[in-house]
């Protein structure tokens, strides 16, 4: 008998989501129930939710109390944003207004975060003033913050009071010697402290803050920036330790270091990791009880919308200033939208549980049986603007979702940034180099699934060994990836690896 679950990942993973989306295929109970409940409609924490729910950041926290070598302080905090971005700084009352305006216009809004442009806890008055009002006027919205951790222990009690149940701490190291290569100084007890001593204090505060939050039942996510040659190997240790202390998610992000950002690392020629190096480190840190957050997009501190999109421009201060908003009605719409999304997800599960096309599966199962082969895994890139559906034109994709299809199931690997291919007339002269860049960022992928694709990029992708595929437009991502994988294995394209008996049963 063939192991049927091999082709039905949603069964192997306990039906968390269409495919293995929210769960590691080998760890059905990776996320304990009470945590799963807390995070399942948080777009940044749940791989499933990020297809449906929207988030926004408000930039109310300008000051910072440390310096990171990958950050240029003329721009937003680089722990949470891409370098070189400047967010519109808001006063707390403006931020509250903006959240309520966005929450009225986008009923999928579920999370409001403060992640900069500096450190939220280096600006405690502004941060907590914002949270207090939001808890009062929009109690359905989840609140979260991201911090470097230096001022965390002293604010844990206040955080707990405001009922903020998600905190992200950026932890890049446990070893002060390594820390000294990442953090040139901190501001601590009214003094600027430099070198190993500074790193030692920062690390102590981060670990203490993590422990205090966990002790109070507040969810903690750890962000780490992967800096090749400095902390890349060390992050495995970081991952082990933060897991042991009770962090529920570890998100390893690539260092982005370019001279034009004017950062120490950018100017000193410090290399960034390749997508493969990042993915490999993420894989080796992944374990049964510690999930990696592979869908993080390093959004800007004032991002608005679904993960991977930013509608911030629609809600600038000028535009929202004179809006009249009925808060209660807006909240009702959000609550209704949430119910609708939950129903849609549930319906999708029910559908996936009974494969639509049994014949295809039987045929491929037959082939598996007669040939007694295992098939190699395949990376596929997907263009999607949400809902877990292939619904985006190749040329409009700002990023691609990379999935790995194997006999063990479909697994989300990472999001690959694409600079927009189709940006209008005046820049079309650069189209050539842009498609080259996209091809580079899709290295390792053999298929790209999108709603539509132009003739020219089609040819270039094909020439680069990436097969464009527009046949699955408007289909659920997991189903489409699965069926393309089945087609590929049925046509013998995946036969290269010699017979291994591991997934076969006689």
């Amino acid at each position: 008998m063939i192991d049927l679950t091999a082709l039905q990942p949603e069964k192997a993973t306990g039906g968390n989501c269409a495919g293995s989306c929210g769960n590691h295929p080998h760890s059905p109970s990776a996320v304990p129930q009470h945590i799963q409940e807390k995070i399942h409609n948080h777009p940044c924490y749940s791989e499933q939710a990020h297809h449906y729910y929207a988030r926004m950041h408000v930039a109310v926290a300008p000051a910072c109390n440390i310096q990171c070598h990958y950050c240029n302080r003329k721009y937003d905090c680089a722990n949470e944003s891409r370098p070189g971005v400047v967010s519109e700084l808001l006063k707390p009352d403006q931020a509250i207004k903006k959240v309520l305006a966005v929450g009225a216009a986008i009923p999928q809004m579920s999370v409001v975060g403060i992640a900069g442009p500096g450190d939220p806890l280096a600006n405690p008055e502004r941060t907590f003033a914002t949270f207090r009002e939001l808890t009062r006027l929009a109690p359905d919205l989840k609140l979260c913050i991201s911090t470097n951790g230096l001022a965390l222990p002293q604010h844990v009690d206040e955080l707990a009071k405001h009922n903020i149940d998600h905190v992200t701490i950026t932890i890049n190291c446990l070893d002060p010697e390594i820390g000294a290569k990442i953090y040139p100084w901190i501001f601590w007890n009214h003094r600027r402290i430099k070198g190993v001593k500074a790193a030692e204090i920062l690390i102590q505060q981060q670990q203490k803050g993590l422990e205090m939050l966990v002790a109070r039942g507040i969810l903690v996510k750890i962000n780490s920036v992967m800096i090749p040659g400095i902390n890349d190997e060390h992050l495995k240790e970081v991952s082990r330790v933060v897991r042991a202390k009770g962090a529920f998610l570890h998100n390893i992000m690539p260092l982005i270091a370019e001279a034009k950002h004017g950062t120490f690392f950018g100017l000193s020629g410090q290399p960034s990791p390749t997508p493969e190096e990042l993915s490999n480190l993420q894989t080796s840190c992944e374990s049964d009880d510690m999930r990696m957050m592979r869908h993080c997009r390093q959004c800007r501190a004032d991002a608005v919308g679904l993960l991977g999109e930013d509608r911030g421009d629609e809600f600038s201060l000028e535009k929202i200033e004179h809006l009249e908003i009925d808060h209660a009605a807006a909240m009702q719409r959000r609550v209704a939208e949430k119910a609708r999304i939950e129903a849609e997800i549930a319906a999708k599960h029910a559908q996936s549980a009974q494969p639509l096309d049994n014949t295809v599966q039987l045929i491929s199962l037959d082939k598996l049986r007669t040939k007694k082969k295992t098939y190699r895994s395949v990376l596929m890139a997907v263009a999607s603007k949400g809902q877990g559906i292939i619904n985006l034109h190749f040329g409009h994709a700002q990023e691609f979702l990379i999935y790995e299809a194997s006999q063990a199931g479909i697994k989300f690997i990472r999001a690959a940034k694409a600079e927009l291919y189709c940006t209008g007339d005046e820049t079309c002269g650069e189209a050539e180099s842009r498609i080259e860049r996209i091809i580079k960022s899709l290295a390792g992928c053999e298929v790209v699934l999108c709603a539509k694709i132009g003739y020219e990029p089609w040819g270039k992708l094909e020439a680069a060994g990436i097969q464009p595929n527009g046949e699955h437009a408007m289909e659920a991502i997991e189903d489409a990836v699965k069926s393309v994988y089945q087609e590929m294995s049925a046509s013998g394209k995946l036969d290269e690896i010699p017979v291994k008996k591991q997934t076969m049963r006689a």
Partner: protein
């Protein structure tokens, strides 16, 4: 005897709440120090608070008009 914020200031707000004499105020195009109020933190702290948290090299000058945090002293960037 006073420190001075000059045009390199990026308006990050870090210094303003730390000043023991409320000498720092928001202004356009950048924050300013009221020279009459500034004590250089004498009697309150060992180091002037604004100059100890300011992340921008050269943004704050000492009473002699020299950068409190000269180029390279905070970022390690020397080019």
């Amino acid at each position: 005897m006073a420190l001075k914020i000059i045009e390199l200031c990026t308006n990050c707000w870090a210094c303003q709440p730390l000043c023991p004499t409320s000498a720092i105020y928001e202004a356009k195009p950048h924050f300013l120090i009221d020279a009459l109020k500034c004590t250089e933190c004498d009697g309150d702290f060992a180091d002037p608070q604004c100059a100890s948290i300011c992340p921008i090299e050269g943004a704050i000058l000492n009473s002699a008009g020299k950068a409190w945090n000269p180029p390279g002293s905070l970022t390690g960037i020397t080019i």
